[in-house]
């Protein structure tokens, strides 16, 4: 299901039809024109805030708010990108965020795909009820149980350590759900053949299923990295010491500390978005794939 959705999404998008009589083609041209105008307006609406952010990050502080709006700085102040490292603890924030992203993603992908195999390829009593419990919690917002979770983490002495964020993010039901959706599309014959060849279930997971599910793993990896990188609430509640701050918490603190340094704030914002932007550009196919897989089935 995953792959078929994606090919239709990425591939041919047009329910077009043959062109016929002349008046229709004139009407069509107008329709296309309206379409392009709408597309341009929408694109500007989506991208203008990012453009403004990037340009402001290269202005002097006084140039950020001018009347009329100055869309492109007179001179590009690259100095901002040096100054931000001196005025803030960017290195620590980025380091912490990177550690968290890597560890969380590894654990989520590993435990998620492993559990998904159990849910989709092994049949045992109580399996479906257990899976329902997993799915049920996807509908429960984290905000609803953040308080008991915080108490629990404090009792386990995980609060105010990076472990808290790992524990919070790494075992989500979402990864299990996404991987299971994909495994259901893998024909049983493959595993059956391997079983006859004497491969254990773990061997089948490792040698057959895992290599086949590279696209699904790529989707889950990218979605998890982005999620962990962007998480604000988890670090806000659990990471109190400045040396543990992630980029989001660090940036937010920087904003309240230097609330009139508009250009520098924009510089920090650009730096916080940049890694995600690069990952997104490189792997956008897998993002679309992951969203389509987890969404359409619902």
């Amino acid at each position: 299901m995953a792959t078929s959705t994606v090919t239709t999404l990425v591939g041919d998008l047009h329910p077009g039809s043959g062109r016929s009589r002349a008046p229709r083609s004139a009407r069509r041209r107008i329709g296309r024109l309206v379409g392009y105008v709408a597309l341009v307006i929408a694109a500007v609406g989506v991208l203008l805030p990012f453009f403004w952010m990037l340009m402001s990050s290269l202005k002097t502080n006084n140039e950020v708010f001018t009347i009329p709006v100055q869309w492109i700085p007179k001179t590009f102040v690259w100095q901002n990108y040096v100054e931000i490292w001196q005025k803030s603890d960017m290195t620590t924030w980025l380091k912490n965020t990177m550690i968290l992203s890597v560890v969380v993603t590894f654990l989520q992908v590993f435990t998620g795909s492993f559990a998904a195999y159990g849910f989709s390829k092994v049949r045992f009593p109580g399996r479906d009820a257990l899976f329902l419990a997993y799915i049920g919690t996807i509908a429960v917002p984290w905000q609803a149980y953040m308080i008991p979770q915080f108490i629990l983490m404090s009792k386990l002495h995980l609060s105010n350590t990076l472990w808290a964020i790992i524990a919070l993010q790494a075992f989500g039901a979402f990864g299990v759900f996404l991987m299971k959706q994909f495994y259901e599309t893998v024909p049983e014959d493959l595993s059956e053949a391997a079983r006859i060849d004497g491969l254990s279930e773990y061997g089948i997971w490792r040698r057959i299923i895992l290599p086949l599910s590279v696209p699904a793993i790529a989707s889950l990896t990218l979605l998890t990295i982005v999620n962990t990188w962007n998480d604000y609430l988890g670090p806000l509640i659990y990471l109190r010491s400045p040396e543990l701050w992630t980029i989001q918490i660090g940036l937010k603190t920087f904003i309240s500390q230097y609330n009139a340094e508009y250009a520098l704030i924009m510089t920090g914002s650009v730096l916080s978005v940049l890694p995600i932007a690069i990952i997104f550009m490189l792997g956008q196919r897998y993002f679309v794939e992951g969203i389509a897989t987890s969404g359409v089935k619902g």
Partner: protein, 301 residues
Amino acid sequence: MSSTLTARRPGSSFKRRNTLLGWSFILPNFVGFAIFTLIPVIWLFYIAFTDWNAFGKANWVGVANFTRLIGDSSFHVALKNTLYYAVFHIPLTLAISLALALLLNSKLKGVAFFRTAAFFPYVTSIVAIAVVWNMLFSPDTGPINQLLRALGVDNPPGWTTSADWSMPAVIVVGTWREMGYYMLLFLAGLQTIPRQLYEAARMDGANAWQRFRNVTVPSLRPTTFFITVMLTIGSFKVFDLILVMTNGGPGQSTLVLSQFIYTKGFMENQLGYASSSSIVLFLICISVTVVQFLVNKRRDA
């Protein structure tokens, strides 16, 4: 899926073997899931009935927290603001993301680029988005109000600095951020509609609007329904965007349910009371999901 281990080798020892095998796969994830999600969710239903304040002992107080909620005017404000957000955010996002999906589902150039661009806000962090939009919304010198003045609006709104306009500002940003995501879901739905349906409608002389009304809308109903459910849950739990953009203010003009829970629990240490309001949020989201489940079931039957 059709042939499974139990089907092939019946017998209770194999069944036991399968159970062990299945659990061994699930266990690494389940341990973390049980400790950090399942137990907190269950525990919530105990704490909500106590007067726990983080330092003392938790005493059972029955439904006292809930009766207090009924009379708490801050809670009323939070509930009302959450509804305000939901009532505007849901239809607005539905309409815009559907319109964008229809646009992308046509034979225009640049569609692939736009699909990527529209999705980008969704993967950008809330902190960066909030700070940029706060600057764009800046009442005196911000680009948005300059544009409005140029268009002839003499007294443009104060946006996040005004109690009347802070919620609309948050709704605009929330919609802008999420529309690309729902657009993708709509697009996936649109692509499942058989082309023959449109051709048949065209043969019958249906114009573009009639084709949209009589082919697209009914065929998209399952997608639309699913998206509405997702949007509803998303609206009721809205939090980080508001926390960073307005921090609930000015005054209590953007105080929402999740922030009420956060303030009571983490700022005022009233864990029991905060948990009882968590249960309200929990029940809202669960009932939305149950309705979705029932409707889907009825449709399948």
